[in-house]
């Protein structure tokens, strides 16, 4: 047709122009980054079918827990991380940090190529060849001077092949490998050494216990293996068959973990050990100990509940009550060793907890010394301090830094940064320009774990494999490869390693594991199986232990605090940022902290009475002064903290580390003194008393929920255990309606959320961001309540008849996909409508943005695109191609992951059947470490979701509005006050 027309552009010409222009743009934009091999499929790579994801099993390295993950790769790009259900650690679940690992991979502030510092102190990019040459020369120069022993490789906790390689390399160079973890849990090791002669961190079986007593162990947040223990806790603490376990948490502050406890007890900071001894004493004296006190009766005699009560400030009655429950609700478990309560007597406290477990007969039952954590192998804090002093004395010539940020994580008083300046040559393998790497002379950026080969073993029973899930985003190189390559270039080391790539090295070292594995067949099959399963998992038998006589030599003392202020200063690890490494990920910054719902910042928690005394209100600033320094920090008023304690999360207050981390909040570590735990030498986090004074500054406290109570709306409902046991009168009544009920054919998608299981960790929120291309908007827009989260965790503080006087309740709130949805009839253009499967469909293209649907939404779960939000390159590579990226002016909301539903239906159709329960999981459900969310087909009466929706505990939020939600919440179950 176009040929008939005179003038204008012909179709062919148009296509040509477009092709040339587009091609030029592609070439121009991809010159700096080696991406062009990924997307234009002139010759399609094998195994990639457009539209069909590839899943790669790997291991998460966001914290030492080492969860197994599955990474979804679409058209060459990793777009989603999910827990690997084959991994015995996390059994398919994940946490917010694990989900956000993708934003480490695609972080726009990643170091994009090797950098070296010139004489002017500026970092200049150079090629890998040049970079490796620089390093080689440096090593040879040093060895030419025949100086040995002054090379140090400082890494985080790496186990497995890389650990082995670094060890061998350092041996060859005469250097030293030091593993430094911010939260190394040294007192746990030491206490076990004293108590049982085993210098290890054991595995706990929370799921097997009926009564859990935690002395500051924040196992839902950061303690040892949060996903694993949250999952176990959910099993133990959920209501099933008219019974449920009880959980008591002792900590000066009601942490997120404490919020899930039936009782929160705020003992005086650092006296948890006495409380444990008091409970043990009561157990032994009441004759409840199965081993009759196991010879510890004498030791315990000094710690009668009366005496302990006066030290800890916990009422005698509470102590005896716990003792009674702890010994009768068997098996029970006491855990301890949370970072935030690590004071100078931490080991003593943990010995006391061991004693408590011992007299209650839990050792070997719920505490398992067979399967110990490899975290036990990291270097001690003393090794770190002596390293710093060698650096200070100029004894270190080359310092390698691998995935550590001691300039941020070590207390300022240790003067690490100053010592670092005295090291003539610092090499960093970091992916990010953090506080430590900034000072490096040479930066050889490592691939992130999602781009590299490797392995990590968190505990003896798990050998996790790490495999690249996509080609490197930037011009980075795996550190293992760099080591091998440099070793090949250093003359003396030539021939030391037979492998030229780390992949070969990894396979060779896995041959040892293969050799140890029984009946594994040939190595290739074993290797392939391991790759598919995410690693090699084995059974490690539990180990019988007995109490050691060394225990009697332990003197239980009160902790020492430096400083003469009025307040104990508590720095607690953040479940969003861990030791600060998560702070550069916008998803984690924008994930509201569960208790305050604050975002993009950090704050000091102040008890309401203290706030009155200090004359501060929410959003005011306090200056907090320890002997080591002063910080100025915003106030959040929280009833869940002792009046004599102030607490600040660890992880914010970066001075570099990229645009998302820099200059946000305050780093509390800067004012911590250099106190150590008396027996283990580990760093004592809770060891200073501070002065606090109001400063003349006020800012809006940016949070996502400004209310704290339910205002009688019955949002989060609860029943007591007794009520349930006596049988709840549950009726499902249907309000009369003018219209006949809706009929659904095969599917009515629905959900059940067990509020007894939900711990408020926010994994679902971040998973939803990742799956559904939800924009992060930044602090300024969250301050205007314009966050885009499709699922939010509402938190309410309810007055309660417990020790704390209140109870924290969480409510994951997402689109209820109402059967009688208020949003649907008010849309003038049918942009939202009811689909035949019960979903409230949302047609983005049709939306004109009247926003009436959001006004009329009873649950206020609709989010409006006030702007067209941008993902800075390459964060946009993470976007899920199955989900539309929304632009300004339109409404969006939870779709029940309609793309997953459709995918599941497609697969079922291929097999000629209906979708069955368990065919697929929606993103929030998949991520939830507590298994609180169950999605399914309500029309299938055998589905789990359908059954749960008729549960006795089931209720609909705001049922009186008659919206007929598809989500049934199961009431929280509270223990009756004894």
């Amino acid at each position: 047709m176009s040929e008939d027309k005179k003038g204008g552009i012909k179709r062919r010409d148009f296509l040509k122009i477009i092709g040339v222009a587009g091609g030029t743009a592609v070439v121009a934009s991809s010159c700096s980054e080696p991406v062009e091999q990924i997307i234009p499929y002139v010759i399609p790579p094998e195994g990639i079918i457009p539209g069909v994801p590839n899943w790669y099993a790997s291991t998460c390295r966001e914290c030492p827990a080492g969860c197994g993950i599955l990474v979804k790769n679409r058209e060459g790009r990793a777009i989603k991380i999910e827990g690997n259900s084959k991994s015995p650690i996390n059994n398919g679940a994940s946490c917010a940090r694990g989900q956000a690992a993708l934003q480490g991979l695609y972080n726009p502030d990643r170091i994009r190529s090797p950098l070296s510092k010139n004489d002017a102190g500026k970092l200049r990019p150079l090629g890998w060849e040049g970079a490796e040459k620089t390093l080689t020369e440096k090593i040879e120069e040093l060895r030419g001077n025949s100086k040995t022993g002054n090379i140090v490789f400082l890494s985080n906790h790496i186990s497995g092949s890389l650990n082995k390689l670094v060890g061998e390399w350092m041996d060859a160079l005469g250097g030293k490998h030091i593993e430094y973890e911010t939260f190394a849990h040294e007192p746990l090791k030491e206490a076990n050494k004293i108590s049982f002669g085993i210098d290890k961190i054991p595995t706990y079986h929370i799921d097997k216990s009926k009564y859990l007593l935690s002395f500051g162990a924040d196992f839902i947040e950061t303690w040892l293996s949060p996903v694993e223990y949250t999952k176990q806790f959910s099993k133990m603490h959920s209501y099933k068959d008219k019974t449920m376990g009880k959980f008591v948490h002792v900590e000066p502050r009601a942490s997120l973990t404490a919020s899930s406890a039936d009782e929160w007890i705020s003992a005086k900071p650092g006296t948890e050990g006495f409380l444990a001894l008091g409970i043990a004493n009561a157990i032994v004296n009441s004759g409840q100990s199965p081993n009759g006190g196991g010879g510890l009766r004498g030791l315990l005699s000094k710690y009668s509940p009366d005496q302990v009560s006066s030290v800890t400030g916990v009422p005698v009655q509470t102590i005896t009550q716990i003792a009674k429950e702890f010994s009768t609700m068997q098996p029970s478990l006491a855990i301890g060793g949370g970072v935030s309560v690590t004071s100078t007597n931490a080991t003593q406290t943990l010995v006391a907890i061991n004693i408590l477990n011992y007299v209650a007969g839990n050792i070997g039952e719920t505490v398992d010394f067979g399967d110990t954590l490899t975290l036990s192998n990291v270097n001690s804090f003393q090794d770190i301090t002596s390293l710093v002093s060698s650096m200070e004395n100029g004894e270190i010539d080359i310092l390698f830094l691998y995935d550590v940020n001691p300039a941020y994580t070590l207390p300022k008083v240790l003067k690490f940064s100053e010592a670092l300046e005295k090291v003539p040559f610092v090499v960093s393998f970091s992916s990010f320009l953090d506080e430590t790497t900034e000072a490096a002379n040479l930066i050889l950026p490592d691939n992130t774990p999602l781009e590299s080969w490797g392995d990590y073993s968190a505990k003896e029973s798990v050998h996790g494999l790490i495999q690249p899930v996509m080609s490197p985003v930037f011009n980075t190189k795996g550190t293992g490869d760099v080591i091998l390559s440099v070793s090949g270039q250093v003359e003396e080391l030539n021939g030391r390693f037979t492998q030229t790539t780390f992949y070969d090295y990894l396979r060779d070292s896995w041959k040892e594991i293969w050799a140890g594995a029984q009946g594994a067949g040939d190595f290739e099959t074993f290797w392939k199986d391991c790759l598919e399963n995410g690693g090699y998992y084995l059974e490690v038998p539990s180990r019988r232990v007995s109490i050691s006589s060394a225990i009697s030599s332990v003197k239980f003392t009160e902790p020492e605090f430096t400083g003469d202020g009025d307040f104990y200063f508590m720095a607690y690890p953040s479940y969003r940022y861990y030791d600060g490494r998560g702070a550069n990920k916008p998803w984690l910054q924008e994930l509201p902290e569960a208790l305050s719902t604050g975002v993009w910042s950090s704050w000091v928690e102040v008890h309401p009475d203290t706030a009155k005394k200090l004359n501060v209100k929410l959003g005011d600033f306090l200056s907090i002064e320890s002997p080591e320094g002063v910080i100025e920090i915003q106030v959040y008023i929280y009833q869940g903290i002792r009046p004599d304690t102030l607490s600040v999360m660890i992880g914010q207050g970066h001075t570099s580390y990229g645009r998302y981390a820099k200059d946000r909040g305050v780093n509390p570590i800067t004012i911590l003194p250099l106190s150590t735990d008396e027996l283990s030498g580990g760093f004592a986090w809770l060891s200073t008393k501070v002065k606090a004074a109001k400063v003349n500054k006020h800012e809006q406290f940016v949070q996502t929920q400004y209310t704290t109570t339910q205002h009688d709306r019955g949002m989060v409902q609860a029943v007591t255990l007794t009520e349930l046991q006596q049988g709840l009168h549950h009726e499902e009544h249907h309000a009369p309606d003018f219209y006949p009920p809706r009929e659904y054919d095969r599917y009515r998608w629905g959900m059940a959320i067990d509020l007894q299981k939900c711990v408020g960790c926010g994994a679902c929120v971040t998973a939803c961001y990742a799956e559904n291309n939800i924009a992060f908007v930044g602090k300024e827009l969250v301050a205007k309540r314009r966050d885009m989260a499709w699922i939010r965790i509402e938190r309410y503080f309810e007055e309660a008849n417990n020790n704390a006087g209140f109870q924290t309740r969480f409510l994951p709130m997402l689109c209820q996909q109402c059967g009688n949805a208020p949003c649907e009839p008010v849309c003038p253009v049918y942009a939202t409508y009811h689909n035949p499967e019960g979903l409230n469909g949302m047609v983005y293209n049709r939306c004109v943005g009247t926003r009436y649907c959001a006004n009329n939404c009873t649950y206020k779960v609709r989010k409006f695109n006030f702007y067209t939000y941008k993902w800075p390159e390459p964060l946009n590579w993470q976007l899920n191609p199955d989900v539309t990226v929304r632009t300004k002016g339109i409404m969006e909301k939870c779709t029940f992951c309609v793309q997953r539903i459709n995918h599941g239906k497609d697969l079922a159709k291929d097999e000629g059947r209906d979708v069955r329960d368990g065919d697929f999981k929606v993103a929030c459900e998949q991520a939830c470490p507590a298994d609180a969310i169950v999605f399914g087909n309500l029309e299938d009466h055998e589905s789990k979701a359908s059954k749960l929706s008729h549960d006795d505990r089931g209720y609909k939020v705001l049922a009186e509005v008659n919206t007929l939600p598809a989500i049934t919440y199961l009431k929280k179950v509270t223990q009756d006050k004894a």
Binding site: Y706, T707, Y796, T858, Y859, K860, K888, L958, E960
Partner: protein, 443 residues
């Protein structure tokens, strides 16, 4: 002029057509700033379209704010125009004669202004036409269940009818102007607009019937349009919106604010153009009585709303009303009460009703009060819904203020143009209430 108490046909023509003389300096001094503010409003709107609605103060959960307030406010203003011209015509209330033209003009321009806001407030205003049911190849249709679609029909019907009514009522007057003016462009324009009106008996016969029918047609619109606007809110389930009282409450409020606006506009016009003989104190007295009535109705509605919220025992409903009087927005609630219920109380006295200064000031307060009434209904209800976790505070941004000011300027711009182009007082109808002229008087 007031010393000559007798109005004659000739004087009516003279006086009213004289208003269309060349604009004076004063007129320009008013008109140019309005143009500036219209331009600024336009700039704000373009900026908003370009950046996204985020430049307005909207936030979760307050998705409607000043724009919808303005919309309801202007639709409300529009109402009294039709009330005065149509309903009072049917009731043969003679006090309307002098002011109905101004009131009608006000109606048309207010609807023109109001009609902009639903578009301004859209997230994607370039797609506004999707709200009209027009045939298209994609077979997409509008949702007739949505009150917003009813709104589209209500407002567009209202604009059409009020504009036609305005125009038809003006035909004989335009003919009169046509007969007066001599210079070419004006003569031609008025000739076209007068549709060849000759003033024959036959024409008058049909004209008066047509006018009566239009009046009858427009009358139900006075009630229905604002009822429909109120259903934008009442049809939702939000505490503070979901109430059956809204339709009469909104209609009464609309008439209240519209009369206030008529007073606000006519008092200065009367003074500037020396229309004391045309717009008399009796006219104002009549309007002021209507103000008392409507103020009483909305005062009752405020009380009834409040009582029902308490009496219902519904925590969300009562929470909303308790929040209105005590929460962050309480000041606006009390402004509304004072302006709409307390300030009109002196109107019970005849001397106050006939004091134009007091009436003028009062009418300003009434309009402020009525603007805040809409603001309170919309914003406070939205900010304090069912779910306490989703409560939030909305503050308008400078863009919204700019567009609101621009809308007043836009309205005023049309009004000023109207004063200089069309007869602001009905010549023909004024003559109906004058004695028929004797032959010699016509010299």
């Amino acid at each position: 002029m007031s010393e000559q108490n007798t109005l004659t046909y000739a004087r009516v023509n003279d006086d009213i057509i004289r208003m269309l003389d060349k604009p004076t300096f004063k007129w320009w001094a008013l008109f140019l700033p309005t143009l500036f503010f219209v331009g600024f409003g336009l700039f704000c709107f373009i900026y908003q379209v370009y950046s996204g609605l985020g430049v307005a103060g909207y936030r979760h959960p307050v998705f409607w704010g000043v724009y919808i307030t303005d919309f309801v406010f202007w639709v409300g203003i529009a109402h009294s125009g039709t009330l005065i011209s149509a309903i009072l015509y049917l009731f043969r209330a003679n006090f309307r004669m002098s002011i109905y033209r101004i009131a009608e003009a006000m109606t048309v321009f207010a609807v023109l202004t109001a009609g902009l806001f639903p578009i301004i407030h859209l997230g994607r205003p370039w797609n506004f036409y999707w709200l009209f049911p027009y045939p298209n190849q994609r077979e997409l249709w509008v949702n007739f269940k949505s009150p917003l679609v009813w709104d589209v029909f209500a407002v567009s019907t209202y604009l059409t009818v009020s504009a036609l009514f305005f125009f038809i009522g003006m035909i004989p007057d335009i003919a009169a102007v046509r007969d007066r003016v001599t210079e070419a462009p004006r003569k031609i324009i008025y000739s076209i607009l007068s549709l060849g009106w000759k003033g024959s008996n036959w024409e008058w016969l049909h004209y008066t019937r047509a006018y009566l029918f239009f009046a009858a047609f427009a009358t139900p619109l006075v009630l229905s349009v604002h009822s429909v606007v109120s259903w934008d809110f009442a049809m939702s389930n939000l505490p503070g919106w979901h109430t059956t009282i809204f339709a009469p409450y909104f209609v009464a409020g609309a008439i209240f604010s519209g009369l206030g606006m008529v007073i606000m506009l006519t008092v200065p016009i009367r003074k500037i153009f020396h229309l004391e003989d045309y717009i008399t104190l009796d006219n104002y007295d009549g309007m002021a009585k209507l103000l008392i009535l409507t103020s009483g109705i909305i005062g009752y509605a405020y009380g009834a709303e409040f009582f029902m919220a308490w009496y219902s025992g519904n925590p969300a409903e009562w929470g909303q009303y308790y929040y209105r009087i005590t929460g962050e927005y309480a000041i606006f609630y009390w402004i509304m009460i004072v302006c709409n219920v307390v300030i009109p109380i002196p109107l019970w006295f005849k001397s106050v009703r006939r004091n134009l200064k007091i009436l003028f000031i009062m009418s300003i307060f009434i309009n402020i009060g009525m603007w805040f009434e809409r603001f309170n209904i919309i914003v406070i209800s939205l900010s304090h819904g069912f779910d306490p976790a989703a409560w939030g505070i909305y503050k308008p941004s400078w863009v919204e203020v700019g567009i609101t000011v621009g809308s007043f300027a836009w309205f005023l711009m049309f009004f000023l143009l109207f004063l200089k182009t069309l007869p602001a007082v009905s010549i023909a109808e004024m003559k109906e209430i004058l004695p028929v002229p004797k032959k010699e008087a016509q010299t």
